[in-house]
């Protein structure tokens, strides 16, 4: 099992290396000279050259890449061109917790709603319940999240004044206020996700419920809820976890829109502002971090398979 895990981790490292090259090229291919961005409109050749040298931009590309990667790995992400803010601090200490909180809440909500609805529609296959759940899931998947966000803001926020329409309060500072501010963004971000989970849960469970061991469990006279929730759900964990892992990329993508709509200071909003302000180093750091997160989650999903399914454990 350890060698299997080591293989997976080695694969991941290769992918990370490729992502880092892509991420580095992004900065190099972007229009605009970083030195010009930092100096503004007025400068002489000497100050241009000295800054160019100080930033290491006069070095060969491969040296620049090695330096950048080394700095990135050691947490020295540099200072943004225009705002002159420490990027590691900005991205990891300030923006990342916001996005992680939002993602965790949305994910939690999606699982809490999606799995039971999926299970119910599998159990009550081909009933009105099932059809209703299918419509619910499809609508959720098809509805653009930014539009849903705006609808929620106008109805629940403005018309009924039930929830705050913007901002972020860290739940670790004020738990209830934090949760209160997270209600609308979490609903917005999780809808797409809920639909996916419902569909996958249903499909997997329908198949599982036809298996002989389910019939056997029923024949033993085990109660219906136990058959479904213990024997059934345990066996659909793999596809559900896989979908969650894959869709986490989607949720990060959705976070860009959701954070902008709800004005939350997370990675999404940071990326938007960085692009608008041409802070390419920030964009690069954000892209790299997002990619690392996505890859790590998939690694975790891969590593969790043997835990979820004993048949995958090496003998």
């Amino acid at each position: 099992m350890l060698s299997q895990a080591a293989g997976k981790i080695a694969q991941t490292l290769v992918v990370l290396l490729i992502v880092s090259i892509a991420s580095f090229s992004l900065l190099k291919l972007a229009p605009g000279d970083p030195v010009l961005l930092m100096l503004g409109s007025e400068f002489d050749q000497a100050s241009y050259d000295s800054l160019n040298h100080a930033l290491g931009l006069d070095q060969p590309m491969i040296v620049q890449y090695a330096q950048w990667l080394g700095n990135f790995v050691t947490g020295d992400w540099g200072v943004s061109y225009v705002a002159r803010a420490d990027i590691f601090n900005l991205v990891v200490r300030e923006a990342l917790p916001v996005t992680l909180t939002l993602t965790a809440c949305s994910l939690g909500l999606a699982i809490l709603v999606g799995v039971p609805v999926g299970v119910l529609s599998a159990v009550k296959k081909d009933t009105a319940w099932d059809a209703g759940a299918a419509v619910f899931a499809l609508t959720g998947t098809a509805f653009p999240s930014f539009f849903l966000g705006i609808l929620l803001i106008w109805f629940l926020g403005v018309k009924f004044g039930a929830f705050p329409v913007m901002g972020f309060v860290p739940p670790w500072e004020d738990f209830w206020a934090g949760l209160y501010h997270l209600v609308l963004p979490s609903i917005t971000l999780s809808t797409f996700f809920i639909g996916m989970i419902v569909r996958v849960t249903r499909a997997a469970l329908v198949e599982v419920l036809d298996q002989p061991y389910i019939t056997a469990a029923r024949a033993r006279g085990e109660p219906g809820w136990r058959v479904v929730w213990v024997h059934g759900v345990r066996n659909i964990m793999m596809p559900v976890v896989t979908v969650i892992g894959l869709q986490l990329g989607g949720i990060l993508q959705g976070a860009v829109l959701t954070e902008t709509v709800f004005s939350m200071p997370g990675i999404g909003q940071m990326l938007t502002n960085a692009v608008l302000g041409r802070e390419y180093m920030l964009v690069q750091a954000g892209v790299m971090l997002t990619a690392v997160m996505f890859i790590l989650v998939n690694l975790l999903v891969d590593l969790s398979y043997p835990l979820l399914d004993p048949r995958l454990r090496p003998r």
Partner: protein, 542 residues
């Protein structure tokens, strides 16, 4: 007069390139007078202690545009100046009585002209920066020199190019000597539009260096507290502010919000109390909200279609004239600017008191819609028959791509087939600056004086003159007007200069655009100044 420094600076282009959308706006507000009254009564008989006791309330204002730095001498964004102006004071300030724009002493207690090139400023006594150091003649000199010849060089350095000598007469008196009469000086020395006249704490500049923009220290009614990226910029009242009875608020937060409709929702639901800018597409909606006041009007700006005069087909003056008269401005205002803008006949805009002609529509000057005239000019053009041109557009500015789409059928009427090419803003700016275009629409924004609205933009060979237009007589008239102080004489010269520009039509004028700010009704005492901004000096919350 020649102002060669104007050549090197390209701050408008940098501004446009850095962030295209809503570069920052300056409001011009009409029918205001409430604030002035509130100010007068607040100033009467209040000791500083009483004023201190009065500071209460927390205002939260959505700030919709990018903020680069809070260093007044280096920012390119008016949205930053809006905040800077609450933290700092200028040597002068812009005031507005509902009718006319005026320039008055701010940190200066008095401003005298000894002759047409020598200005004497006496400072208020006992004014301190937020770090406790004194704001005296030395500090003012330090700030002016930081702009004029500091390293790194301020983008506003050109505004003080003519400043020859700063003489410290006594600790509170300065004598500024200029090499020539300088008509633009009042604008240059304000803390708002000029930026060059904003006074910063020398001790703080020495302490923070390049990071001053994240740790600003001024003399203003509010102290800087914190700047959390993508979240908010927090200010708190300066209890020792030198103008009696100000500020009235205890705290002010500028919430950094990207999405205007979210800001409107937050304003309507009471989560914030104001918006630094209300985009045109939301104005009519916000007008209908009973708990919100909308303030705004046409400001010192103009939008236009620029044509590349360096190459065919627009090297032909008659073809350009045909374009200038073929545009139905009324339709552009309705379709491009939601019916909120005002047709432009020439560049000089309504807030330029003394220069703008309120009856310009009947004066026969400038450009307007006259299809017969357009066709007559078209008939004189070198190339007859259909001409195909490329029109570069980008999703940016108050008109977005709507203006280009509105114009295309109008130009078809005079046999110009427009091929619309949609570009990403940075690429668009680059093509414009490289002269790699035939036609595009653009704008010049937030000007208070014809000097800054005409000369750098259309000067022969000037770096903002993307159209490559060349006219020695225009240059001469503008240069002459810049070195005269008398408004009437200047106005006459600028009118002549404009007539050359409009007749040769490197640009076809479109509109003057209004800029709006929104506040909840419980916000009181907001004083409108036509140039900037969101000055919170006299604002309170009921």
């Amino acid at each position: 007069m020649t102002r060669d420094t104007g050549e090197k600076i390209d701050h408008k282009a940098v501004l446009a390139a850095q962030l295209s959308n809503r570069i920052g706006r300056r409001s011009f507000l009409k029918g205001v007078g409430v604030g002035a009254g509130a100010l007068a009564s607040a100033g009467l008989g209040l000791t500083p202690d009483l004023a201190r006791a009065d500071q209460a309330g927390h205002i939260r204002i959505a700030s919709l545009s990018h903020i680069d730095t809070l260093d007044p001498h280096f920012t390119f964004f008016l949205s930053a100046v809006q905040i800077i102006n609450n933290i700092h004071n200028g040597l002068l300030k812009v005031t507005f009585d509902g009718e006319a724009v005026k320039f008055e002493p701010d940190l200066a207690a008095s401003w005298d002209m000894e002759d047409d090139t020598t200005h004497l400023f006496k400072l208020h006594e006992g004014v301190k920066f937020h770090d406790g150091t004194a704001c005296d003649a030395e500090a003012v000199k330090y700030s002016l020199m930081r702009v004029k010849s500091g390293d790194p060089k301020s983008p506003h350095a050109w505004k003080l190019e003519l400043l020859d000598e700063i003489e410290i007469v006594d600790p509170l008196t300065l004598r500024l000597k200029f090499s020539k009469p300088y008509a633009f000086l009042p604008v240059a020395l304000t803390g708002s539009t000029g930026r060059a006249g904003t006074i910063v704490s020398p001790a703080a500049v020495e302490k923070y260096g390049m990071d001053y923009g994240r740790n600003p220290v001024g003399t203003g009614p509010f102290k800087f507290v914190s700047w959390k990226d993508n979240d908010s910029i927090e200010l708190e009242a300066n209890p020792d502010y030198f103008e009696a009875g100000m500020p009235k608020l205890a705290k002010a937060s500028f919430m950094l919000i990207n999405e205007p409709s979210t800001a409107v929702a937050a304003l309507v639901s009471g989560q914030i109390e104001g918006m630094n800018d209300c985009p045109l597409q939301l104005v009519n909606q916000v007008k209908q909200v009973p708990t919100v006041n909308l303030y705004g009007g046409v400001e010192g700006n103009y939008t236009y279609v620029g044509m590349n005069t360096r190459k065919a087909p627009f090297d032909d003056v008659n073809l350009r004239r045909a374009v200038a008269f073929a545009i139905d401005r009324d339709a552009v205002v309705k379709q491009g600017y939601f019916g909120l803008a005002q047709e432009a006949y020439t560049p000089i805009s309504p807030p330029m008191t003394g220069f703008y002609d309120p009856n310009i529509a009947d004066s026969g000057r400038g450009q307007w819609f006259d299809l017969e005239k357009a066709k007559a000019f078209r008939a004189k053009a070198k190339t007859q028959g259909d001409i195909e041109v490329t029109y570069l557009m980008t999703e940016d500015g108050p008109g977005g791509t709507r203006v280009a789409q509105t114009l295309a059928p109008m130009l078809a009427e005079i046999g110009i087939k427009v091929k619309l090419e949609l570009l990403e803003p940075a690429a668009w700016v680059k093509r414009m600056k490289d002269g790699d275009f035939e036609m595009l629409d653009f704008r010049w924004w937030a000007d208070l004086d014809p000097e800054e609205t005409l000369y750098p933009e259309f000067k022969s060979g000037g770096s903002w003159n993307y159209w490559g237009w060349d006219n020695a007589e225009f240059d001469r008239l503008c240069a002459e007007a810049g070195a005269i102080i008398d408004t009437e004489k200047r106005a006459e010269l600028y009118r002549k200069a404009e007539d050359h520009l409009m007749d040769e039509a490197p640009v076809a004028m479109l509109a003057h655009i209004p800029v709006y700010k929104a506040f909840a009704k419980k916000v009181e005492g907001f004083q409108y100044v036509p140039c900037d901004l969101v000055n919170l000096h006299t604002v309170s919350i009921a």
